[in-house]
Symmetry: C2
Subunit: 709 residues, 2 copies
């Protein structure tokens, strides 16, 4: 769903709960919930189970250290949300416990695709019951219970509910690229906590890149010593992360991206490369030439030893070998490689990479690992237990499924590209119009959000991942029928605040960056601006605002976040006003206040910018903000007075808005499209005499979008 | 300086720079600076040295890994503050470098009391020079350079300046008690960074308490296994912290508090205790009975082995043995101990503890460690190389100095007690009226801020330490003559924002706590309230709001911070208004807006509180805020109209203000005293006919303080 489509959604108060046929609402029950992902089936009833400081939890049947640790975290978070102090220790009598956890067994010893993550919850006014076949299922249920917590003037409580839940897809991942920018272990840990909170189950750890080799190798220490600027994970730290993830029922799939994306490997071991070397760590963003030499036995020996070392650290059944974006330019220029290809009858670089992958497969087979790689690894000889990771899209994924391959989707989930949540939410690994058979559909395992690391630091990465990834998690867990965008946004705001309890900085660090940018001046006008702009989409940041991996990530573009909530609110106000034609009253007051704030912010902003060289680049944005405010106020004034603007006004304003739509400092104003509607509405008032309000509204929207005269 | 005294300080625009006789200002120089601590001597000149992306640093004479690492951090922080990207690597030609660092040598191999921390800075329009006898001195100078950074519409620059600087005291510490509440290593690291930023040089690591034994012992694993709830530092983590501190020129002095404060030791090793046991980890705040048994050889053998193990982890020359607050109740009740005392002729518990310390001294001597302990360790037999750590005060410290002991002061620096910065700033280890000789004064080594851990979590601890501790750091580093409170507060606000770059959460986490308390509702009214209240002083929180070490630290009292800046601003506005008598114009508009906000916040707050059971306790505070607003507006209105209020008005309002001054939810309103001035001023208007404005102002203040009729 694109932004314009999103903007014209009429303002619905929250309605839909029934995510699937199984769901039903009964009695005078809770009219909305804050669950994300929405469970497969939820049924609320009137009544409540109080949450007080006498809360006690019991486990029946099975229990183990992992479950006990999960219960401990659950209690601490519940204390944090309620201010209550519970008595330590489990209840000895399940009959009198507030919450009984009935877990059938431990499940998989190492989190795996075969894990049963289902659970059931039954909250009665006496007791809440959580039952699950595995500890991981129980943990998923505990997260749902935390999201069920409600409050009113009488205190905290769980609403009475019956929930039956299991994921739609088995592979629900988040890729974090710490190659371009390193993130310390505590950043990963808080993100693992957040993943668990929204029921994601695969942490895809993108460990090597042209810009950094980030894992300690004891066999080949020059890899991390020379390829990382000292910013790497020790093996002990990596094992600690794997265990931390296991505790939360999350698999860790490591990626060693080869044969391309390998500059950082070659700094210490240039003899593995296909070019003459020497190599230095890449500092730019982009696609680069260095690639491993697929013609030499030493390279495979090296990889077998190295991957063997890594296999001992990462117990997951899968190992991601990347395989993407190798352009083969080094291969083309290397006479030995060319001679080798001729000798072996390898007709092109595509086939040469297939040859490389065949060797890799043998190594992985020895290590008892299954291969996963990007679309490029799909070759006729690829064994059927490999997984295709698609950046290309659902068509490529369906194609792989037809050929018998398992696959996961990342196209549509590139959270580094600054698209709105609604757009990711609309991407489905199995689109509604799929022509795959049921059997083939089973091969679509799920998907992964990808946090590519060109423009993220420990200070900003959380705000690029969250809260949007929670909506992707819902897409991958909840029934396909859960698609109400307005309700998703309503729940997302609640979840976003809850995620802060895990230490995430996606909300709190905005002000930190703004304070630094203003050097201690009053940040309020800048905060308003930052809340109304979004980083440019796709890969345009690099063009707009050149930088390297060594540049600080502390500009206004880093403080601003994707999917501006203020802009969405503004769009709704404008739509409400137009929807109120011909009276234009309902939202006029709020709109006027909002637009006045924008207009007045400009001089305050300009005085800030004067004193902060870092903010100089924001000058045109400040000007645009003022102009947007003034223009909107003019349009409102015409509408309120029922006066048609003079000739030329509309054209002048629309031209000005086209100008304001152009990104500056790698930032853009998503409100421009709504502002166009206001301008068009003001200048189209007289048409209301000849058409119904509804016809008129359609005309205004169409004209504003430029699709009608 | 108490709060009332602080409130009546007249509003001075910034003036004083000359901290000592050496300092001077020359030419049309920078009229103020943001340096904290203020250097021993600063001299500014007109002109600038531009800071651009071509900045290059050179080292001459000596360089080592520690200096290079400090330069790297300096460059990254400078990039963060400016948005510039420097080219990696040092300048090869010192002549063309922007900054030349001339370091004479490495200094002490392990940070120590003997370290020379002095440095000199000379910024000319061509180049900045930093020279220092040691790497630690150079690091101190780098922090000063970062604080010198200025900006205007032309860009970033260093003002031309000559600085000569060294500390007044050699021991400038911060104690963090992680016994009551554990803080993970990353919390300690960011606080070490902050300490270095304000030139503190001792991290006093309070590692054991009744409520937690927080360091791994391989010799006696039940210490941490049974005494810590699993929340302890591995030896590797401890070594990592020590090295992190060393990199920043900070000593780590570990404290193992014995013979009292030792409940957590006894959980795993009850045989060390003086009572019958068994023991459980203490969950309450307070002083408790468990104490080691000083009569048994096994206890000393245990301590020798344990402290030997610790001595290998902590290389500092000193080891803190606590020694405080042992009431000896377990000793009184233990017949074997009583018999032992009779046999040995030990007359009381005081003497018994001296006996214990004599044994400890022998152990420390074997381990080549000097003893430091709280006032209580001062016994006739104490060797002269021990250090007295005074919680009692400067008199006790002077007494020790006269007896020939080195000492450090913590009385006056108890940052856990929520006093305003000004009060800590006024505490001097060597008060101006000291009668100590110069020789005796040399024995006063410095002081330590103490962050006792009863009420701090990883989420809130930074806000209890910072920014106030920066002012204590200034007291301990800068010349004694640096005492301008207004200027301290001006600079403190700047430094507080700069400290955020190190990851500190003292500013950012306020909103996080408020968002959690409001469960996602609009936090603005609550933020206003939180900005106007302060946690109750001294040890009254526990009485007001009972809790244990297991209680969450997530209430309004945890979001509110000591030394409310908004309240200080209000006090200044009131003083300005009264100082403007008889016209009362200057600040009336701002005051009216402020008071209107308070009045209007009450209904908004009440609607928030309705939906958040955690906020219920704040209801009386909300009522008081509204009443304060209404009362102030009434007083303002009388003043503006020159109308004397009716009979009884003043008495009723003052009674109401006395009521509002009483703490609720462990929070109090420091603005009450200013509000009293407004009320008195309104009701004393007619007196202005018979006295000068200045006489009248004194009368108003005196009456408001209750010291005149």
């Amino acid at each position: 769903m694109n932004r314009v489509a999103c903007a014209v959604l009429t303002i619905l108060s929250f309605v839909v709960l029934n995510a699937s046929a199984q769901q039903s609402m009964s009695g005078p029950a809770t009219s909305s919930h804050n669950l994300m992902p929405v469970p497969a089936s939820v049924q609320f009833q009137a009544g409540r189970l109080g949450v007080t400081d006498s809360l006690k939890i019991a486990t029946t049947n099975f229990s183990d250290a992992r479950l006990l640790s999960a219960i401990d975290r659950f209690e601490k978070r519940l204390q944090g949300r309620t201010g209550l102090t519970f008595t330590p220790g489990l209840a000895t009598d399940a009959g009198t416990a507030t919450l009984v956890i009935q877990c059938a067994g431990p499940g998989q010893s190492i989190p795996s695709l075969e894990e049963d993550e289902s659970y059931q919850i039954d909250v009665s006014s006496q007791q809440a019951k959580l039952s699950a076949p595995t500890v991981v299922g129980a943990m998923r249920g505990l997260e749902t219970l935390l999201q069920l917590l409600a409050a009113d003037s009488e205190g905290y409580f769980l609403p009475l509910a019956k929930i039956q839940d299991q994921p739609r897809f088995r592979w629900r991942g988040l890729l974090i690229d710490i190659g371009r920018h390193y993130e310390p272990p505590e950043v990963l840990k808080r993100n693992l906590d957040a993943m668990a909170a929204v029921k994601l189950n695969v942490f895809h750890w993108h460990l090597t890149e042209d810009q950094g080799f980030r894992i300690e190798s004891k066999k080949f220490p020059k890899l991390h010593q020379m390829g990382s600027d000292g910013l790497f994970y020790t093996q002990e730290q990596a094992k600690d992360i794997v265990e931390y993830a296991r505790q939360r029922g999350i698999r860790v799939v490591p990626e060693f991206d080869i044969p391309g994306h390998s500059t950082s490997w070659l700094v210490g071991y240039p003899e593995l490369g296909s070019g003459p070397g020497p190599y230095t760590i890449e500092r730019r963003a982009g696609i680069f030439e260095p690639a491993l030499d697929p013609t030499r036995d030493e390279v495979y020996k090296f990889l077998e030893t190295f991957l063997g070392e890594m296999a001992a650290i990462f117990p997951d059944a899968y190992l991601h070998i990347g395989g993407d974006e190798n352009q083969g330019k080094q291969w083309d220029r290397n006479p030995k490689i060319q001679a080798f290809m001729k000798e072996k009858g390898i007709k092109d670089n595509h086939a040469l990479q297939a040859y490389f992958n065949q060797h890799l497969l043998k190594i992985l087979e020895k290590l008892k690992k299954k291969m996963i790689g990007w679309d490029e690894i799909l070759q006729p000889e690829l064994p059927k237990n490999a997984v295709i990771h698609s950046w290309r899209g659902t068509a490529a994924l369906a194609d792989a499924a037809i050929k018998g391959y398992d696959g996961i989707l990342s196209n549509g989930y590139y959270i580094d590209l600054s698209f709105p949540t609604s757009q990711h939410y609309a991407a489905d690994p199995i689109p509604a119009n799929t022509t795959l058979t049921a059997e083939q559909q089973k091969r679509i395992l799920g998907g992964e959000a990808t946090m590519w690391g060109e423009y993220v630091s420990p200070e900003t990465i959380d705000s690029r991942i969250w809260p949007r990834t929670a909506a992707i998690a819902e897409r991958l867990w909840s029934p396909a029928s859960v698609t109400d965008v307005d309700d998703m946004y309503r729940r997302l705001a609640v979840i976003s605040t809850q995620l802060e309890e895990l230490g995430l900085t996606h909300e709190r660090n905005v002000d930190v960056l703004l304070r630094r940018l203003t050097g201690g001046q009053d940040i309020r006008p800048l905060k308003l601006l930052a809340s109304l702009v979004e980083p440019v989409k796709e890969y345009r940041r690099g063009e707009q605002r050149p930088s390297t991996m060594l540049s600080p990530l502390n500009g206004l573009v880093d403080a601003a976040r994707p999917d501006s909530q203020n802009s969405r609110n503004f769009a709704k106000m404008v739509d409400a006003l137009i929807g109120d034609a011909p009276r234009f009253q309902r939202s006029a007051t709020d709109l006027r206040m909002t637009l006045t704030d924008w207009r007045d912010a400009e001089p305050a902003l300009n005085s800030l910018l004067e004193k902060s060289p870092m903010l100089r680049e924001a000058k045109p944005l400040s000007t645009n903000l003022g102009t947007l405010g003034t223009t909107g106020l003019e349009a409102l004034s015409f509408l309120a007075q029922g006066v048609v603007p003079p000739n030329g006004w509309r054209e002048a304003k629309l031209a000005m808005l086209d100008e304001a739509a152009k990104p500056k400092a790698a930032l853009e104003f998503p409100v421009v499209s709504s502002m166009k509607k206001l301008v068009v509405a003001a200048s189209e008032q007289s048409e209301l005499k000849t058409m119904t309000a509804s016809e008129w509204q359609k005309r205004v929207v169409a004209l504003a979008n430029g699709s009608a005269k």
